[in-house]
């Protein structure tokens, strides 16, 4: 069995288990997982960027673009189906990245991080100064159907969870496939040595640009999923602290598997939920200390618990 196949089967198995587990889970957990998977999608995009040697501190921009695209299409254009809205969010974010990428693709390291941060903060400012979009208060979104099924009753509780699961599984599968193509394999090559990639006749700029667009599409889908699960959108999604959390999830989770961002996002959400509940006055301290512990004790991220045990670190 090839590695690709094994990953695919594993993801499908995990998807099936998670779907089957839905009736067993309490409702608050369904919501928590749906929101975490939305964040995981953004982290999945960041994972691709990190494999290309780039860290963006502005993924919140694409997250917000996806959410606002889905939200405005839902409330103004009366696009009712959640699946269509998620696709729309991904496409809108990809389009924005297509344009900004013309500039961003020239940058590396901390300068890439800071330029992406500047763009996301400009977007934040524009959203704050748009009373039509509710300014900082944002607005509510309510899809009518999910893949044709009316969004009411039991569906209201399960739909965001199942939708997030389906989008996450599809995205992880697709990204894993992409990374095994010729184009996908250029990403780590760019990180290792851009000069050699150019000598081989590939365009580093195009590779980076393409990966930027893919990462943005994932972040846009994540934004749309989050918006539909939470039912509300506001400019905070584009703020730099949101982007910072995405980077945190990605690094803490580890970058060796396409499943890591999702597992990491769920664990961090759980941790936060328990910390807020049991230490309402010091939950930030608990989060910070835990994150430090993970960074210091597990240099390869949480996922390295699985890989290290077998001595098969890539």
């Amino acid at each position: 069995m090839s590695d690709a196949r094994r990953t695919a089967l594993g993801l499908l198995a995990a998807f099936a288990v998670a779907v089957a587990a839905a009736p067993l889970l309490p409702r608050w957990a369904l919501f928590l997982v749906a929101v975490a998977l939305g964040r995981g999608l953004v982290a999945l995009g960041l994972l691709l960027l990190i494999r290309t040697g780039l860290v963006s501190f502005g993924q919140g921009l694409f997250f917000a673009v996806g959410a606002y695209a889905a939200g405005t299409a839902g409330s103004r254009l009366h696009v009712g189906d959640a699946v269509a809205l998620v696709l729309l969010g991904a496409v809108a974010a990809a389009a924005v990245a297509g344009v900004l990428g013309l500039l961003l693709a020239r940058y590396r390291t901390i300068f890439f991080a800071m330029l992406s941060l500047a763009f996301s903060m400009i977007a934040y400012g524009l959203l704050v100064e748009s009373p039509a979009l509710g300014s900082t208060d944002g607005f509510n979104v309510h899809p009518a159907t999910v893949a044709g099924v009316p969004f009411a009753g039991r569906a209201e509780a399960y739909a965001p969870y199942l939708l997030a699961l389906a989008v996450a599984a599809a995205a992880a599968l697709a990204l894993d496939r992409f990374q095994r193509t010729h184009l996908g394999r250029l990403a780590p090559a760019v990180r290792e040595n851009e000069l050699r990639v150019e000598y081989m006749g590939a365009s580093v700029r195009n590779v980076v640009h393409l990966n930027l667009v893919i990462a943005a599409a994932l972040a846009g889908a994540g934004g749309a999923v989050t918006a539909l699960a939470v039912g509300h959108i506001d400019p905070e999604m584009a703020y730099w602290t949101t982007s910072g959390e995405f980077v945190f999830v990605t690094i803490v989770a580890g970058t060796s598997s396409v499943a890591a961002p999702f597992a990491g996002a769920i664990l961090l959400e759980l941790l936060r939920s328990y910390a807020v509940q049991h230490a309402p006055n010091t939950w930030q301290l608990v989060m910070g200390a835990t994150m430090l512990g993970i960074i210091l004790a597990l240099p390869g991220g949480l996922w390295s618990i699985f890989t290290r045990r077998r001595g098969a670190r890539p």
């Binding site: 800071m114 400012g125 524009l126 980077v247 989060m287 200390a289 994150m291």
Partner: protein, 298 residues
């Protein structure tokens, strides 16, 4: 004409404030390659310590003019206590890790410090307004400015000159430059790199705390006051060129003037003026205005 004067005066006052915060940040990055997200928390710590100490000083019936010295002492206290604890107790275990990981370490530190400040000082606001009004005001055309703002400008200039002199003219500064250029070779030549790091981080912390201490008399010292400051300081440092102190000065002046012009002429632009400057500068000069003199090893 009077608008132009106001733009210049307000811009320079704001620039001085920005530079005080950004100088330590850029220095720590230049030497240690750490983009310190906790810098804003150190600024907050400086403000709280200054508020507490100056409050105690004035309640003790000491001469009010002495409160300026207490502000400085508060910054020094924070720098000398917190700097070494953080560097020795945490950061040194992370050297050699990826730059992004270091950013996250300081982000975690930021979360911890924010809650620690809250545990020590609570969420109530603190006030040390006395020094602000102590020196009186000066009229500039139709506008009135407190002389205290001039003092902050002088402090910023003094810090800038002291850093420049310290780096270029002293032995310690030359060792610092060697470490910036090549950490391994410096160590091989017998320079105590970990000591250089300790000193750098302590100086950087003191500068952040000084920024906070000098700000304290003009504001209510409240939890979270450092959060907004971090990203402003980042912008200044990136515009100027990471690791460059003169760059940070130029970045601060640029940002200060543009923001002040926006406030006077086009208030709607104020919210993103700083990020527009940052995006524009990076678009033209991808590594900031002053690329630090050292070659970045690839």
């Amino acid at each position: 004409m009077s608008t132009l004067a106001a733009v210049l005066a307000d811009g320079m006052i704001y620039a001085a404030w920005l530079f005080l915060i950004a100088a330590g940040l850029t220095m720590i990055y230049g030497v240690m390659r750490i983009l310190n997200m906790a810098h804003g928390s150190l600024y907050t710590l400086g403000a709280y310590t200054a508020a507490s100490l100056v409050g105690a000083w004035l309640r003790g019936g000491h001469p009010p003019l002495g409160s300026f010295l207490v502000l400085g002492a508060a910054a020094l206290l924070v720098g000398l206590v917190v700097g070494p604890i953080v560097e020795r107790g945490l950061l040194r275990f992370t050297y050699g890790r990826d730059e992004v990981v270091l950013v996250l370490v300081t982000y975690a530190l930021f979360l911890i410090l924010e809650d620690l400040v809250k545990l020590v000082w609570g969420v109530e606001s603190y006030y040390v307004t006395e020094p602000y009004g102590l020196l009186g005001t000066v009229d500039l055309g139709p506008l009135t400015y407190p002389i205290y703002s001039g003092l902050v400008v002088l402090a910023a200039i003094a810090v800038g000159l002291a850093l420049r002199w310290g780096i270029e003219r002293t032995r310690a500064g030359k060792l610092l430059v060697a470490v910036i250029h090549d950490r391994e070779v410096s160590a091989a030549l017998g320079i105590d790199v970990s000591r250089v790091f300790l000193v750098t981080f302590t100086v950087g912390t003191t500068l952040a705390a000084l920024g906070g201490a000098l700000t304290a008399p003009t504001v209510a010292v409240v939890p979270g006051m450092g959060v907004e400051v971090i990203v402003l300081a980042f912008a200044v440092v990136v515009i100027g060129g990471l690791g460059s102190v003169p760059g940070a000065a130029l970045g601060a002046v640029l940002v200060g003037l543009v923001r002040s012009a926006a406030v006077h002429l086009l208030p709607q632009l104020e919210l993103f003026s700083i990020y527009l400057v940052m995006a524009l500068v990076l678009a033209v000069r991808p590594r900031g205005l002053f690329v630090a003199a050292e070659a970045r090893k690839i």
